[in-house]
Amino acid sequence: MNDAAAAGTVLVSTAALTQRFGSTVALDALDIQMRPGVTGLVGANGAGKTTLLNALLGLRPPTSGSATVLGLDPRSQGAALRAKVGFAPERDVLPDEMRAVDFVRHLAQVRGLPRSEARTRASDSLWLVGLGEERTRTLGTMSTGQRQRVKLAQAVASDPQLVLLDEPTSGLDPTQRTEMLTLIGEISNEHSVSVVLSSHLLEEVERVCDHIVALDAGRLVADGPIAELVGDGEGITLELVDIVEPAGTVDAVESTLRGTGIEVERTGTTLRLGGAGRDELSDRARDAVADAGARIRRLEARQRTLADLFEASAT
């Protein structure tokens, strides 16, 4: 584990970080902290994720507030900072005519590695991301999934302490997305490289990240360990099968449950139950289903999701 990844270390912190473009507030007085591991930077398109990454890299001075990354000020120590940070932008930045290994080696050299070491690490990084056999192929002949992996390889080739990945699963199919997320998790867990993963897909952030920073229109929605922000919530979810005979079973179950004072939110054939303990809710739900002659498709403890966070923020 590198120094920065020591337990309790804060890799990234911002204080009232604000970025305005004219009258548009892209980042609104953000106070965030990111720790070692995989941090998900999540939000819809236009939430300010890329703007925040640019500010953390020192590419654009903030309108006000401050940031510290790996103990360095991006404004005054940007060059030293960027030598320690790997970055993979969302945009497809690969020159088609270059071989993958030459591209990764070149970026490793630009990030300060000696030529011979850059050559070795370029090859190693491409093996790491599963492109060892493809390393001499030109980038223009690679698939979208392979090109995303090459971007990841160049970001980690110089052995950075921190890697910023801007939408690394963009353009990938579900299988490729799963592979990429697994890879990102491995890089963090097995090689002690901390990762900030920017994404607008909540489920992929939930799948791989230890911490999350959630943004909505430049405002901070949530910041903390994902285990505290999502996971077990209150109540249960009861999903019923929409059967024809007997008719109206879902309505009957809903009505029965409401009659016993249980809080019910209904969406189609799914009932979200609250207002009592889980055991009691389960018993009441079972009884109501039996009385109505309904059939259960799913009965489970309710999970708090990132979507809930954004919904709560919106209200």
């Binding site: 590198n2 890299l57 590419l59 940007g78 060059a79 030293a80 960027r82 030598a83 940070v85 970055f87 932008p89 945009r91 497809d92 930045v93 690969l94 020159p95 088609d96 005519e97 270059m98 071989r99 030459d102 070149h106 970026l107 050299q109 630009v110 990030r111 300060g112 590695l113 000696p114 030529r115 070491e117 690490r121 090859s123 190693d124 990084s125 093996w127 790491l128 160049q154 980690v156 110089s158 052995d159 097995e190 090689h191 002690s192």
Partner: protein
């Protein structure tokens, strides 16, 4: 090496197919060695840009034009050396072959060709494919990125402006018709290097300025060619036909660079007609050396200013 799921060779790669097989040694490891920082980043970018410009590591079609320009610049020198070797007389002293500074007349076509066709790609490509944003996420900043690119173009152009003359100097020296004595030899060497780099720097600044204004390589090529040839045509007409002030030649990239080269070699420019016929075209020789140097410096500064202005706008966007 064996593991539970199959055998692996010494590099840790599976040698027997197995659904559960994994590469246990992924080879990626921490690095605690030296890091070269900004200087290393600039060196890497200059090196890769020079290789890119000359077509190394690129398909054959990208090698053809730059090397054609180099060949066009070198062929006359090779012919001159061949003639000198066969005839076995001091052809320069006998005024049979051009002097060193006169060789630029043979290079000019290759130089313009190289600047027009090859140089624009060096800036345009990074903006078009997004590499610029990736470079700026490294220790490089805008100024160091642009300085590296300018250094790469100047170095590559110097292959054309300096290379053939160095070849001539060495070949004539070996053949026995080079400069007399070490002092003269070093003087010629310094003049070759100085004039070659000065001309390369001036044309580099102008070419990069044009290239910075568009993301389309074709437009950049047309712009550079128009600047190089158009400035010759317009200033030539104004001075020689309209008999205007010869200081207008300051806007003629070819003539003002040529004049600087002549000053460095300590001679005036040759008459376009081969004799002093009193035409206004000769009056560039009347311009002071200070004016000639200042005009060339102005091209470099103006070109750099345009590039800087343009890239600041791109960065802000």
């Amino acid at each position: 090496m064996n593991d539970a799921t199959g055998t692996t060779d010494v590099r840790g790669q599976a040698t027997e197919a197995d659904d559960a097989a994994r590469i246990l040694d992924q080879r990626y490891r921490p690095y605690a060695g030296v890091r070269h920082g900004l200087a290393g980043a600039m060196r890497a970018l200059v090196g890769s840009s020079v290789r890119f410009t000359l077509g190394f590591g690129r398909p054959a079609r990208h090698k053809f034009l730059p090397w054609l320009a180099v060949v066009v610049a070198l062929v006359p020198a090779i012919v001159f050396v061949g003639i000198a070797t066969v005839l076995d007389i001091d052809l320069i002293s006998e005024n049979i072959l051009p002097e060193y500074h006169q060789y630029y007349g043979f290079i000019e076509l290759a130089l313009f060709f190289f600047c027009g066709i090859v140089v624009p790609e060096i800036l345009v490509a990074d903006r078009r494919n997004g590499m610029l944003s990736l470079y700026l996420s490294t220790p490089l900043r805008l100024w160091s990125y642009l300085a590296s690119k300018a250094a790469a173009v100047t170095a590559t152009l110097a292959v054309i402006t300096v290379g053939p003359l160095l070849f001539l100097l060495v070949a004539f020296t070996v053949e026995g018709s080079g400069p007399d004595g070490l002092g003269d030899w070093l003087t010629v060497l310094v003049r070759i290097l100085g004039s070659g780099i000065a001309i390369a720097a001036t044309i580099t600044a102008a070419s990069l300025a044009i290239s910075s204004l568009t993301d389309r390589r074709a437009f950049a090529v047309i712009g550079v060619i128009l600047l190089l040839l158009g400035s010759q045509l317009v200033t030539g007409v104004l001075v020689e036909v309209a008999e205007m002030d010869p200081r207008i030649y300051a806007f003629n990239l070819g003539e003002i660079g040529d004049a600087l080269k002549d000053r460095i070699f300590g001679v005036g420019p040759p008459s376009p007609l081969g004799e002093d016929d009193g035409s206004p075209g000769l009056r560039i020789s009347e311009l002071s050396t200070l004016f000639v140097v200042a005009a060339n410096a102005a091209w470099v500064v103006a070109g750099a200013a345009v590039v800087w202005w343009r890239y600041r706008r791109i960065e802000a966007g």
